[in-house]
Amino acid sequence: MSYMTDLKRATGHGSAREGTRRHWGMTKSSVALLILLPFFVFTFGPMLGQPHAEVIAYFARPFPAIVAALMIVVGFMHFKNGIQMVIEDYVHGTAREYTIIITTCLSYGAAAVGVFAIAKIAL
């Protein structure tokens, strides 16, 4: 027989009362990415393997530059939140915290590099 109370058993394991917000956040970014995706694939894709001057001229135009910047920012924020869910399911203990910190920093870092690069090309 255990003397644990219901509260003791639930504390630290149950809802942190932020699940709904997280899910809603993923919903919003997923809809945004669904809209961005075809525009990005068919503007960025054809530029692979093109001469440097042509790539620079293309991403100096507003539409391709804005689509690419949005895709990188929204995509990496979606990745940051999505990978955190995956980590919370599969990684346990202190490693979980370290992994989440690393993927979060990587996501913000990569998004910043992408925006900087596109801004430098476009402006």
Binding site: T27, P46, L48, G49, I72, G114, A117
Partner: protein, 127 residues
Amino acid sequence: MADVNRGNRPLSPHLSVYRPQLTSITSILTRITGTALLLAALLTVWWFLAAASSPEYFAVADGLITSWLGDLIMTLSAWALWYHALAGLRHLVWDSGRGLDVEAAEKSGVAIIVLSIVLTILTVLIV
């Protein structure tokens, strides 16, 4: 009493004794593709950074992305991207309360696999 009926309740299926089904495979593929897309995303950011830096640096990044290895990574990533997008769309439909019965879930599972392959072929042809 706190611990009545512990150990005598339904548990999540253990993977080792879990028969793979279309629904479980399409589910885990969503996570695998989402995670794997990090590689293509980082390559893309690097490609932009190289383009912003100099023609010489761009030649290196662009050369790698359009090499056979780069083509392989980008083609598989295009499939991962379409698959993950369609699986996400499937989740949005589920979130609205539709298509949750087993038959509909299996149909939509087949649909996203077929559509993702079709869209990948289209992408390779157009891009």
